[in-house]
Symmetry: C2
Subunit: 187 residues, 2 copies
DNA sequence: CAGTCGGGAGAACGATCGTTCTCCGGCTGC
DNA sequence: GCAGCCGGAGAACGATCGTTCTCCCGACTG
């Protein structure tokens, strides 16, 4: 097994286990067993568990944003691209191993004790909101809508995780549709 | 020190430390030191750390819902009572030690490995949504609004925690105000 | 006032964790 | 074919954790 596939297998195993059980509940030996990569090799690829945790988050950050990009850019109109975000959530929430947003979970578990993890989570959510802001700007909607949609999306993630139901995706999409209607109060 | 105050001091110290650093990052000895209650006494009040964690969550559940009740019932009109939820969040987010919702954090950290914690978090969020549902019903709004407000509130909590800003409370309130306007599409 | 009992301080214990080291087998270059 | 080395398996190590035990002081009861 060459170095690249060992690294990939390690990241795959660590990602799955961390997401399922949380970071602190997973020992390095469980990652070794799940990945098939020896501890010695693991430690020469990632000098500590914290490095591995951060590498997992960095890879997931890229994957999530790429997936979201693919989902939204497939739609025809700017408004449809905004609503596609919630279709993306709906698909995600229906996956049987869904257990919330790995970044929110990591922040909750480690944000208070690991500045590295906290910074990565902040960066991911900032990038997520920036993606929404680009969609909002392309749709000619007011910039304030981006933060509102981000709150909706994050809220749907945690609510779906806690309740174990995919319903929040549809409920958040309903709200988003209301926000895309022309405003009433101001004329 | 009698039994009741020992229990209260334990719960106070454990609550503060768990909230600051997470549950697994806090050892029983740190709780002993912060509370001034001996380990022996602690273990005859709570037979294990897991019991203590669950007792902390149960007490916080009561406190949060009572605080919310006080906040919302102080307003005059049904619509104002709904919007008061977001004033409550705004006050909360501005507290210097704010680090997100303890229930969401606990679920993220332990929901995958402790069924007791997961059940308590589900119960708290269900009660929170039920409170919103009561306000929504009293305002004569459609029942679907309650779940939408819950998503908004939960989203504001995690977004405020990750970004470290109280802004999400106001942004979520803006969305809630839009939802309280009469709907447009359906006439 | 003497004896008993509850509680405090902290050591002790077994388990587990992150990390490193040892030993050994198999592949590579001459 | 053989010496040298890289990597795997797993033991070892020190730290820390949850939990229990020991020792001792101080207070209450007859």
């Amino acid at each position: 097994m060459d170095q690249a596939t060992a690294e990939e297998r390690l990241l795959d195993a660590a990602d799955t286990l961390f997401y399922e059980r949380g970071v602190q509940a997973v020992g390095m030996d469980a990652i070794r067993q799940a990945s098939g990569v020896s501890l010695k090799r693991a430690y020469q690829l990632f000098p500590s568990k914290e490095h591995l945790v951060e590498a997992v988050l960095r890879r997931r950050d890229r994957a999530v944003l790429a997936g979201l990009q693919a989902y939204t850019s497939a739609r025809a109109t700017p408004a449809a691209r905004i609503l596609a975000v919630f279709d993306y959530l709906d698909d995600w929430f229906r996956q049987p191993d869904f257990r919330g947003c790995a970044f929110i979970n990591s922040y909750a578990e480690l944000g208070g004790v690991s500045e590295g993890v906290a910074a990565l989570v902040r960066g991911h959510k900032r990038a997520f909101t920036a993606h929404l802001a680009a969609l909002v700007a392309a749709a000619g909607e007011p910039p304030a809508l981006a933060d509102q949609l981000a709150i909706l999306a994050n809220g749907a993630m945690v609510t779906a995780a806690v309740t174990g139901s995919p319903e929040p995706a549809r409920q958040a999409a309903d709200v988003a549709r209301r926000l895309l209607e022309p405003a009433q109060g101001v004329t």
